[in-house]
């Protein structure tokens, strides 16, 4: 050994695996409806709670769900966070609000972007509605809703969040 070489402490071993992902029967139904500009959930036959997006079972009861429930695109902020963390390549400019939103008629929240608002004024119980992309951009994806924005309605009392009835027709925007 004439010259000392640095120790090899690691090697690059990239892993490429290809998958053909399938969502499942119930999520596929949800995505097809989204393509039509509609928000579709499922009602549990045992506890009658409405789940969106549904996975084909009621997680609380462990029974299959099949009954479709179309929901309006307005709801209530269950909770939220303001994201400041800079992530390289993130198309969304921080700070932005990520909210847990419960649609009227649903009993479960999902996470979405809350925009067209003053971040500091966002609050639990705030009323919001969906802002859709133009129909020609719709795909089988939750991104069809660009974001949610505040509605000029009174806040919902905290104990009633997640229990509101369907507030209006479910119609493509």
């Amino acid at each position: 050994m004439s010259t000392a070489r640095p120790d090899v402490t690691g090697i690059e071993a990239p892993v490429y695996l290809h998958y053909h992902f399938t969502a499942g029967t119930a999520p596929a139904r949800f995505l097809v409806r989204l393509r039509e500009g509609l928000l579709s959930g499922q009602r549990c036959p045992r506890c009658a709670k409405v789940y969106i997006p549904a996975r084909g079972s009621c997680p609380a009861c462990g029974v299959p769900t099949t009954e479709e429930v179309l929901l309006p695109d307005r709801g209530t902020v269950q909770s939220f966070t303001i994201v400041h963390i800079p992530i390289p390549g993130n198309p969304i400019e921080p700070p932005y609000v990520v909210a847990n939103i419960v649609l009227d008629g649903a009993n479960i929240s999902f996470i979405h972007l809350l925009s067209d608002c003053v971040n500091e004024a966002v609050r639990i119980g705030q009323r919001v509605e969906a802002v859709w992309r133009p129909p020609e951009e719709w795909d089988y994806a939750m991104d069809n809703i660009r974001h949610f924005r505040p509605l000029d309605e009174p806040d919902v009392p905290v104990e009633r969040i997640g229990t509101l009835p369907v507030s209006g027709p479910a119609v493509p925007r």
Partner: protein
């Protein structure tokens, strides 16, 4: 030690691609089936739940978390998970019952391999520094093993084809099998090699599906008033990972597990062996010390249908069903994991 019984088993039909069905939709019918066999209404009626699955089959982290949505875990359940075949979930549950912390357990395994290319996916199970970067897939490794057996003179290609022929013929009586038919050794040997010396028929198919089982103490089984088979022994052993560091023509860990599970303490009349490749069934039959009189893989075994992460549990289920149906009195079930039979589990079941 407490006497433990298998009281219910169900598995889905083995299909190559189940299509647009997610984990929950895969598992739930099997859970409903085992509940019905015992007369339970849900997982709330057992003391412990344990499952087996592998994230990489579906290509998403935390695949098992979605599985919990099939259970109805409200109120919360005593629940655990192994990133292994569900036969090892059975092993964990047996220990749990022996501690006295549970009298009964629900087990399930599920796998949806169709979204990915299974042999390539499983190549990433090998030593990440020396073997995985070679993309040495599971079929190639098995082919190396088969070649060693053939060259040692201890088997012939006809012996391998005979295993396949018997699997297909037995599978004709198994409505859940993926591959079944009346095909002879000569016809099988006509096929081209897939990866010499392995032909397509020598390799287990890849199947999507799930299996579920309920076990309990014998006292609990009697209280439930259902037919049961006693699980009189269970043991599992691993051996060296590196295929160059062990004798691939034998399965030492199977011998160890079989001895510890008491396989030969009484006569056997059935064996269900998890051999994903035809030559491995021969290795395992020898390691388990099974003689000609014992029916090996009457279901067709995994060469006729292979539910990844559930096939091992299904072998136990097959023996259970034969015992409670009166077709067998005492049987052995085997599960394997890892490249070239690295890790093996052996269970012994007897009539009540």
């Amino acid at each position: 030690m407490r006497d433990i019984a298998v009281v219910a088993f169900s598995q889905s039909a083995c299909v190559a691609d189940i299509g647009a069905v997610n984990e929950v939709e895969l598992i739930m019918p099997q859970l409903q089936a085992v509940y019905a066999q015992v007369g339970l209404s849900s997982a709330q009626d057992v003391d412990f739940v344990c499952s087996g699955s592998c994230d990489y089959l579906q290509g998403a982290a935390f695949a098992f978390v979605a599985g919990v949505d099939a259970l109805g875990a409200v109120p919360p359940l005593k629940e655990s998970h192994v990133e292994m075949d569900a036969a090892w979930a059975l092993y964990e549950a047996v220990l749990k019952i022996r501690t006295g912390h549970a009298d009964s357990a629900l087990l399930y395994g599920f796998g949806k391999s169709s979204p990915g290319e299974l042999p390539a996916v499983l190549s990433q199970r090998l030593d990440p520094y020396y073997l995985a970067p070679l993309w040495l897939d599971t079929v190639s490794l098995a082919a190396l093993q088969a070649r060693m057996l053939l060259d040692s003179g201890s088997i012939t290609e006809s012996d391998m084809a005979a295993v396949v022929s018997r699997s297909r013929q037995n599978a004709q009586a198994n409505p859940l099998a993926q591959l079944a038919g009346d095909i002879g050794v000569a016809a099988l040997l006509q096929d081209d090699y897939l990866l010499a010396p392995l032909r397509r028929g020598d390799c287990a198919p890849v199947s999507d599906g799930a299996a579920a089982m309920i076990i309990a103490t014998v006292e609990q089984a009697r209280r439930w008033g259902v037919p049961y088979a006693r699980l009189t022994g269970i043991d599992q052993r691993i051996e060296s990972h590196n295929p160059c560091m062990r004798d691939l023509t034998d399965s030492v860990s199977t011998r160890q597990a079989a001895a510890a599970a008491g396989v030969h303490e009484a006569a056997l009349d059935v064996a269900e062996i998890y051999a994903p490749f035809s030559h491995q069934e021969i290795i395992l039959t020898r390691a388990l010390g099974l003689d000609e009189a014992i029916a090996v893989n009457p279901s067709g075994g995994v060469l006729a249908g292979n539910l990844m992460m559930a096939s091992g549990l299904a072998r136990v289920g097959e023996v259970f069903q034969r015992i409670v149906n009166g077709d067998a009195r005492r049987g052995v079930a085997h599960a394997t994991s890892g490249p070239c039979l690295q890790h093996n589990l052996v269970a012994v079941l007897e009539g009540a």
